[in-house]
Symmetry: C2
Subunit: 475 residues, 2 copies
Amino acid sequence: MNNTFDSSVVARCTAQIVADLPALEWITDARVDRLSQDFYWFSPVLKRELTGLRAHAVVRPKTEAEIAAAVGACASAGVPITLRGSGTGNYGQCIPLHGGVILDMSAYNQMLWVKPGVGRAQAGIRMGEFDRLSQPDGWELRCVPSTFRSATLGGLYGGGFGGIGSVNHGPLAATGNVLGVRAMSIEPVPRVLELRAPEALLLHHVYGTNGLVLELEVGLAPAHPWLEAVVCFEAFDAAIEFADALAAAPGIVKKCVTLLAAPIPDLLPQLATSLRPGQHAVFVLVAEFCEPGLVQLAGEFVGSITHRQTAAEVAQSKRTLVEFTWNHTTLHAMKIDKSLTYIQSGFAAGPHVSQAKALRKMLGDEVLVHLEFIRSKEGAPTCSGLQLVRYTSETRLNEIMQIHRDHGVFIANPHVFHVEDGKQGEVNPDVVATKQRFDPAGLLNPGKLRGWDQREALAARAASGDVSLRTLPKF
Amino acid sequence: MNNTFDSSVVARCTAQIVADLPALEWITDARVDRLSQDFYWFSPVLKRELTGLRAHAVVRPKTEAEIAAAVGACASAGVPITLRGSGTGNYGQCIPLHGGVILDMSAYNQMLWVKPGVGRAQAGIRMGEFDRLSQPDGWELRCVPSTFRSATLGGLYGGGFGGIGSVNHGPLAATGNVLGVRAMSIEPVPRVLELRAPEALLLHHVYGTNGLVLELEVGLAPAHPWLEAVVCFEAFDAAIEFADALAAAPGIVKKCVTLLAAPIPDLLPQLATSLRPGQHAVFVLVAEFCEPGLVQLAGEFVGSITHRQTAAEVAQSKRTLVEFTWNHTTLHAMKIDKSLTYIQSGFAAGPHVSQAKALRKMLGDEVLVHLEFIRSKEGAPTCSGLQLVRYTSETRLNEIMQIHRDHGVFIANPHVFHVEDGKQGEVNPDVVATKQRFDPAGLLNPGKLRGWDQREALAARAASGDVSLRTLPKF
């Protein structure tokens, strides 16, 4: 029932498309290998399953017309299309399972406009570039990944959850964060549609499997001068309680609160002078004008401020703590200790601190606690985990994730490449119906959306009223 | 053990002070009656207990030197001093129990400076004036009462809890909201001291009983253009769930979320065209750029937007929904229905919605549900109640408050005039120690701070190490 592709046919058709569209920027040399990958190798499981998979060609369009030309040609020929931003993801989202064309969006990258609280840009804009352009007007993106310098806005939307700033605005999916997307269908004559929220979220976090996002209109946050600081603690309980209190503190304006339990700080030699060996570290970004509140809170929890840089100092140093948080922590740690991998988790708002304490006690040295404090989609203070795991076997890795689930912690499994598997098996009929509309031939990133395989059963349930589908506007 | 004052002696001494300091602005005519009052008559209990109490004179200083002159004279003569802002409180805070001098701070009202995220002003500045001066720089106060037009910043600090904006920044007491106060002692030669947070909070919400606040330095919030809207609901559950979801929604920037359950909207004839008879209303202020999120959420909860004004329209109309929230609701309702009084409550973050539903079911028509959605001091989304009560007797009023407590809801009893009684009986030794320091003769607002009566016992406990006191900086 799933689309199948004959590799030799796809190869031949792709070569023909490349030949037919010489005006586009095509890449067909050895660089295709790199452009067919992301940071999937964070996972030993994905490394085993995805290594060697590659596209037949990469195209890097600069205009909507160029995108339409490439898409139209692929759709006519039945060639798979895999969307790619900068390839900074780590779930193999942009690794093509069935070859074909990688549509690299990174050259489609213009800022369109910035107004108070809202901005709009082409999907391939790098988030650091977006902020550079919007900050002079006093606004910046509400959440960015630690890879903000190279990662694209469309890539975060298509493959990400949230990031630095989610401590204020929750994940990207929270109402008000994404206001609209302009999306293209995968058809011989591609059509384009503006989807406004909430429909604008139907293409979010599904790895570019159900539509091609051209532009994004997103809510912005006030751009404050961010003070970066590290607060070190001897005791884990004090560290996590401080991080939790700071993250939730309604009078302290912040952008990032990251807990790196010992021994993770020891895996960051670049920051050695800002850390204390053997201690737990909390990395924070607070508005400069809120430094007194930070100092007060650090004092209450008996933490030591071991690093402090103003926004100007950070800009001058060209090194930001942000690039040691979220999955950058994972990256740095894995460089030092090759035996490490990681898991991703969402704690239950409310008991999140006690859950984290209990799991740390139970799992000991095998799981290194890395928590990012955020607000849930509904707005409750909580935290996400990007725990480092001393890898022994896939079986044990799965056991560790199950232990988390058994404690009421949600696991966003980063060792799978199906959209639904990362989200605990739930097929979203609206996502599948959106793919039916935007990608009727199933050419987008084939093999990643399990619900597409079940689309006939889903359609039958929808027809019988068992599943109600969101109504999309007309093209 | 409490200070006692001979009324005729106080009268004679006050008259002498007035005569001795002719350069100050004194009020000794019939206006003293009005200036000795606040909105204490919201409470039938306070009305019975406090009516008729008045000062012997009111002084309205314009400079710190004038304040020091008045304070020094009163301290020398043993005359009670009661601080007053604009008298917009409703707990009898500024009603002098023992006559003497009312120190009206409203002419000591200069803005001192506004920087990004922080501002400083003299205590008597009206909050509407503060915002008028700071908003051109892009900043405004983090929370204001519904009486912001006339109420003073020092008055909010001395007698208030939070208000419009607390849905973002929590109560005034949350770390980071108050950064510093300049305070004067009540002595023949008054001394002045800058207290920084957390010590800056020691004079907060204690009715001006333990020190005289001259200046306040407070955290500011970005000044967005606020859209005002009313969303009406047929069902109470939908209304409270919408209000709760909107208040917590991390992607929707807001300033105020007020739930007025039926039949409260019917008591607001001024807004009749914006309301629906018999329905529940949620009054909201959201940033104009977040209107799509508001509309989306209202749709999800099947609410009808029955009123919508942009910031410019609000400014032009000179009428804001803000002046129908918090205790303005109480004021408007009591004008229509004289049998009403009210209570104040703090719901437990987490179960707050289910607590409110259960109490409404239990108390029926006797208690009219008015909830203000806020974040707790720790930052958790929750709500405060300013429920209207159909008054039958003081006994029944106390029963209703006890029923709330029995459901896990905190009561800030507005029918008492002792600082501690409004806070469920807890004496704060630090507050009392601060009074010992700033007001050793016990002249400030005498009779309101119960802990002052117990100061010898508290001091003994502190000496024995049973109570540890916060160390204050030296004068």
